[in-house]
Assembly symmetry: C2
Homo-oligomer: 390 residues x 2
């Protein structure tokens, strides 16, 4: 797995330890002369961020950096980044980071040559402005293994005041090139590794369970679950033990980075009730999206179990369990325990007082409309009641 290989769908993806060093030649291929690096505040100061900045500075490009991204990204961060893009007269974006940086970068790219404000382009806005001008190309370099935003056509940003999440969607938000470099994820703390890993698992699982004929997504989901079963616990263990740049650590991180990308490829098929719960938990309690998915998964997948018994049996095979639905759930619970995901929401700081809001926001979220079993308000009450724990 030390070789660098190229995947050609859904966008050219180059994978391998050290592949980030190809950045200058990839920028050249895109015809960029003035790239803007978009990354977050912390990453910009870490060795991997500093190394990337140095690579750009020592190359023939005129590059600039925007790194005012932190927390759940808000519109004012996009506006600052847009000002940086215009001031630099940038012609391409290098987006490096977790989901937040990648999403902000995508929206900067969309707004670069479009008039109006970010919310004018919100998906579902009845007065949505058309995306008709150039969107500068993005090279995406993820540093977490969870969202898979690097292969997605959507971006999420919150309103500064209301914290309401807005989704922007356009096929041309898909990055022009992805560099998947497992070395960039070696330093992720154990907790972030576990939570983002559960995000990837939730994408793979929910996409597989959605009704509809999409056998490529199904095959990719199962193989992604297999990769997670072979690597997530190892990544968390290596991280907790402070294991650095060893071949085994890099290999495990590579499997997770690929599984994360595959989760986002697969979920073009759809998501489900887990994501409605997680979106609500982020909005109401500011809970980390991956952690929210990780806590909810046994409850929400359990909700689908009777209707999808055969599919859970196939997921069980993929996870290396015994090929029964029960085997999959046992595997899931063992994995959660092994990587330190709290067993219920209360352990993660969610208060019973949040209950009504959690139900209300989850019900309004659109993801559960694709769930293989319809989800009623009573179902959400029951799910959150169980997930809160005693």
């Amino acid at each position: 797995m030390s070789d660098i290989t190229q995947f050609n769908y859904p966008t050219p993806i180059r994978f391998g330890a050290g592949v980030v060093s190809e950045l200058p030649q990839q920028l050249e291929t895109l015809g960029s002369k003035r790239p803007l690096l978009v990354t977050d505040k912390i990453l910009a100061q870490l060795p991997i961020g500093l190394a990337l900045r140095e690579t750009l500075e020592q190359s023939a490009f005129e590059s600039a950096v925007f790194s005012e991204i932190w927390g759940n990204p808000v519109i004012s961060q996009v506006e600052q980044g847009l000002a940086a893009f215009r001031e630099h007269q940038a012609d391409a974006i290098v987006a490096m980071g977790g989901g937040a940086s990648l999403d902000v970068a995508k929206i900067i790219a969309l707004m670069a040559h479009h008039p109006g404000s970010v919310l004018d382009y919100e998906d579902g806005n009845p007065n949505q402005k058309p995306v008709e001008n150039l969107i500068p190309p993005i090279i995406a370099i993820p540093t977490t293994a969870g969202t898979g935003s690097e292969v997605g056509r959507a971006a999420v940003v919150s309103d500064d005041a209301s914290h309401r999440k807005a989704i922007l969607f356009h096929p041309r938000l898909l990055p022009a090139m992805v560099l998947l470099d497992p070395e960039l994820t070696l330093g992720l703390p154990a907790g972030v590794t576990a939570a983002t890993g559960m995000d990837a698992l939730s994408h793979l699982s929910e996409a597989f369970l959605v009704d509809g004929y999409h056998p490529m997504a199904d095959g990719i989901s199962l193989e992604g679950i297999r990769l997670i079963s072979k690597s997530l616990k190892a990544c968390v263990d290596f991280s907790a033990a402070g294991t650095g740049n060893t071949a085994e650590h890099i290999e495990a991180r590579g499997l997770m980075l690929t599984a994360s990308m595959m989760g986002a490829v697969a979920f073009q098929k759809g998501l489900g009730v887990t994501h409605s719960c997680a979106h609500s938990l982020s909005t109401v309690c500011d809970l980390h999206h991956g952690l929210a998915n990780g806590i909810m998964l046994p409850f929400t997948l359990g909700f689908n179990r009777a209707a999808c018994n055969e599919k859970f049996a196939r997921m069980s095979v993929a996870a290396g369990a015994d090929g029964t639905a029960q085997g999959f759930f046992d595997w899931l619970n063992d994995l959660r325990t092994a990587i330190g995901i709290p067993s219920n929401l209360r352990e993660a700081g969610v208060e019973p007082g949040h209950f009504e809001d959690l139900v209300a926001f989850a019900l309004k979220d659109s993801c559960h409309l694709e769930n293989p079993v319809p989800v009623s308000e009573a179902d959400f009450r029951s799910l959150f009641k169980d997930a809160l724990g005693s």
Copy 2:
């Protein structure tokens, strides 16, 4: 499966019974006003060909038809098609048919705005001319379920005199849109259904066995094998029984058409010894490519068995067999018998006198260089000896 769904990788693929009726709107999306329909001589006169011509004639487009394609396509057919493209001043190509029509259409598209002759652009030609001009968009409509050429970046054509096969490759040969309509394959004879189906199975199997890290291709391969296990025998039986336009027949044909597409998506990872044998059998004995693959598979996969035992066990699960490598081989042999694939080459008309040429051409073919086990001349001798039968 009666709904029409859209797949977004590797190129937009629209799948569903009747989806071919979307052709005018897809041409409009591409901005085409003067499409050229490229298809083969026989298809142009069959009801599905006549219906497509009528659709184009009754639309607002100025369309023309080129249908002088038959047998294994040769360069003179491409040249005639190119003349038709230029005479019509076409701006897009609708490629309808099996692998031959799709490949000829791709080469016409490449040559439309490039100087010189077809062989100037042959892959590996030391004086290969650059592909630097416009390649008009192609909408691909496959009518067989085997080659998957509709999602491929390559095209094969033979020299008229020498019968030598030339391969042309360029990322922009990938069709801009694929319409996968199972209704178009309902009339395929049982023998063609079986032989092309084995071609798809050979792509899925060989791609899965190739070394290298490409988990998306692996997941797609296994899911494709699963679809074939659920549909190929049914398609052949429906065909032999003269079953027409029933829901069960359309569903089975849809699974095969998807599996065929997935085989070609997967084999960007590589192929192997089976294809070197099949290429040699086509060159030396003019044997149908799918039939050649179908006859060779038990021998060539058997050659890889010891080195890939675990992979064969996973293929066994995918095929619905018992999860052992032996179970996969039993399934493969039962399937071959059930769909009427000859058990050896002699039954398919290959003469022992072809033996030396078969070995020599197979050895020169590049596919076996990707085989998980190196293949020597002695190995090819042994494989062809076994496959010839007694």
